[in-house]
């Protein structure tokens, strides 16, 4: 047998690997939320010092309109809210946030922010790894094995992992050709008013959702993961220690949630935030009861009118955030 026949499979392996690596290196589409997060991590590099930075999950993403705030004030503001972000992933960004020297960091939280059952996107750990973010010992102790693995993957492992985004992208493109999506495509690059969830859900639909124990679960802070609360505490403490002003927003819920959620559970969350604000000395703004059903798209996300109302309240409000 000719020796070349042993070499040919090796050549095939090398050529296909190189081709794949070239392709995946230029591939930067990780789904709407992953791509947005990737862009946020890049945006940290050219953020003007003294900006107001809104951070949190989809409630911030949908609830804050920085264009309105900038129009009505002299502030520069950025909405870095991201659907699926959990406090652990937020805490991992602390060095990036500190390095940008923001004037204020405004964090939007609700009990749902600390939930790990529905609100989950492990791929964000890989993207953090891609931007050179590593966990310090405090966070390392609280990460799962899978999260640690994603945060410590080497170049080839990351390249292989990223293949999970390829098919959904192309199938999604094909899908959007046959049935145009309702979703706003600019969510990935919009750091001012990135609205993604625009479908207005009806009261019956929302009532039915709240009957689902899995959905109710996310509103109960007692059932949230301890490590996520630790990470939130850690993030705020680190920012404060770096001399950055932190404001925490107790984000609003649809009135239906407040009606159906046990008062004890609501009180537990409010007490948790209050105690934390006293311990870490940050400003806490309670927005929980200030919005009506007409301001929401669903149980947690404000619609355009609600977002405008919330953003406008900053401009006209008595707090120290907006001047």
């Amino acid at each position: 047998m000719k020796q070349s026949y042993f070499i040919l499979p090796c050549i095939a392996l090398v050529v296909s690997t190189v081709l794949y690596l070239v392709f995946i290196n230029s591939f930067d589409n990780f789904g709407p939320h992953g791509t947005r997060f990737n862009n946020i991590l890049e945006k940290y590099n050219d953020l003007p010092a003294g900006s107001i930075l809104f951070i949190g999950d989809s409630q911030i993403q949908e609830g804050i309109d920085c264009t309105l705030i900038e129009k009505e004030s002299i502030e520069t503001c950025f909405n870095f809210g991201l659907a699926g972000l959990v406090p652990m992933q937020m805490a991992l960004q602390k060095d990036l946030v500190i390095a940008t020297k923001p004037k204020f960091v405004v964090i939007g939280v609700s009990a749902a922010f600390f939930d790990e059952s529905i609100n989950k996107n492990e791929d964000l750990f890989l993207l953090l790894n891609d931007h050179g973010v590593a966990a310090d010992s405090f966070l390392q102790e609280r990460l799962t094995d899978q999260e640690k693995k994603l945060l410590s993957m080497n170049y080839f492992e990351k390249a292989l992992y990223k293949r999970k985004f390829i098919l959904p992208l192309y199938v999604g493109i094909f899908d959007s050709l046959i049935s145009p999506s309702e979703q706003h495509p600019n969510v990935v690059t919009n750091f001012k008013n990135p609205r993604f969830f625009i479908h207005q859900q009806q009261r019956e639909e929302l009532t039915a959702k709240l009957q689902d124990p899995a959905v109710r679960h996310i509103f109960e802070i007692e059932k949230s993961a301890r490590r996520q609360r630790d990470a939130f505490h850690y993030f705020v403490r680190e920012l404060k220690q770096a001399g950055i002003e932190v404001v925490v927003l107790n984000m609003p819920y649809h009135p239906l949630v407040l009606e159906q959620l046990s008062p004890a559970s609501q009180q537990a969350f409010n007490n948790y935030l209050l105690e934390l604000s006293q311990a870490l000395n940050f400003e806490l703004i309670d927005l929980q009861h200030q919005f009506s059903a007409a301001d929401f798209n669903d149980l947690t996300h404000l619609n355009a009118a609600g977002s405008e109302k919330l953003s406008f309240s900053f401009v006209k409000g008595d707090d120290r955030v907006i001047q």
């Binding site: 047998m1 026949y5 095939a12 296909s16 794949y20 098919l167 199938v171 899908d175």
Partner: protein
Amino acid sequence: MIVLFNSFEFLYFGIFVLLALLIIQSKKYQYLFLLIASYYFYYVSGGSFFLLLFFTSALDFYLAKFIFTASSDRMRKWYIVISLISNLGVLAFFKYTDFAINTFNVIASWFGYQPQIPFLNVILPIGISFFTFQSMSYTLDVYYKKLEPTDSLFRFLLYVSFFPQLVAGPIIRAADFLPQMNKKIVFLEDNFKSGLTLVMWGLVKKVVIADNIAVFVNAFFTDPTQFAGSLAVILGAIAFTIQIYCDFSAYSDIAIGVARMIGFTFMLNFDKPFFSKSIAEFWKRWHISLSTWFRDYLFTPLMGRKFTMTRVYCSVFIVFLVSGLWHGAGWNFVSWGFLHGFFLIVSMSTEKWRYKFNTFIGLTKLPKFHGLLKTMITLYLVVFSLLLFRLYNADFIIYAARKFIFIDFSQFLVQAQALWSQFQVPLLFIIVFIIVHIYTYFKKGFLDQIVQKGSFEWTMYLISMILIMYLFSPTESIQFIYFQF
């Protein structure tokens, strides 16, 4: 840790074995090395159960010798009974003990007793169903005087433990394998090329098609009642049929391909079963090495020398019940076997009547259409039977069977849209499989044509296959389904 064929561990192991066989010049040491490598492979996958593999093989080796040299028929019978009891006993203990305990507890509870015998939680040695059947076929062949026993224990040990087919088949016969060890292992261009071509084809089937479809299959079979209407049930059943075919035939392709690369020829294990025109034909095309095993070592002895239709039906029924049980220790597997036996018996007993009916309505004058109709009906029955194979819960089985038989396509578009939005990628691969499968069926010898091409085209084929795997395989690799059998 099971060494999966689609893992880097197996790639390194395979390269090491190939290089070592190239370096070792002595025929004797080549096979000795293969034996050590095979036992190492099993040790890594199955831990200390390699000792079980060794003892069952060694016992059959000596029993076959005793059968061959026995002075009387009575002694020959004794030896074959010992071989059958030891092999089936080992299989029964490891595979069926907890199933038997559970069945006993349930039946006793029907009569008001609560024995609650605790489970032994016996760990199933990987590949036990395959290597016991392979080893048993040797003693049976010697007993039926189809084969003379080998003098070399280590050749026999290699026959049973040969790593490409050890854990999930195909089930190779000693008469096919042992003579192939008479020659020195020499790498031939054709064998190497066609072997690697088959390996790559198998890998793509497994990691791209089967593993992508698995997402939908797992979601559907966890609770089929979550999916309204018949569309999801039909698609779920089709998806599982494709998944199990791609998974298992891929394992066979890789096993046959690896063996071929080092000069061994194994029988074909799958031959486009979805184009079968009857259940009988399906079993001639699906898991051929197991079907022929049951034919030769169970059906034929059950038939004896007296041919009556009653005997045929009874034998078919027993063979399929045993085949179901072989696939898994669960009543769903037995029911699946029962159903196939039932289909086959109905098909055999109505053959003449169906022919008359088809002639009467003129179907026989349209052979192509008639063939297509038969293929579709066979496929419907096979896909339906696999619902039983995969579902463990009686309520789920009843729900799925009802939706599969009494097709409810109300709100078809809504159902289709909901499924598509949730499972775009798996559904896409179902379509891809159907297209590729039909293409390769009509373009016979598709892989052979690739092998016959020159070096450049062959290298391009390899590059394409690797690239397809890089680009389209899911991030998490999934174990081969037939490992559990």
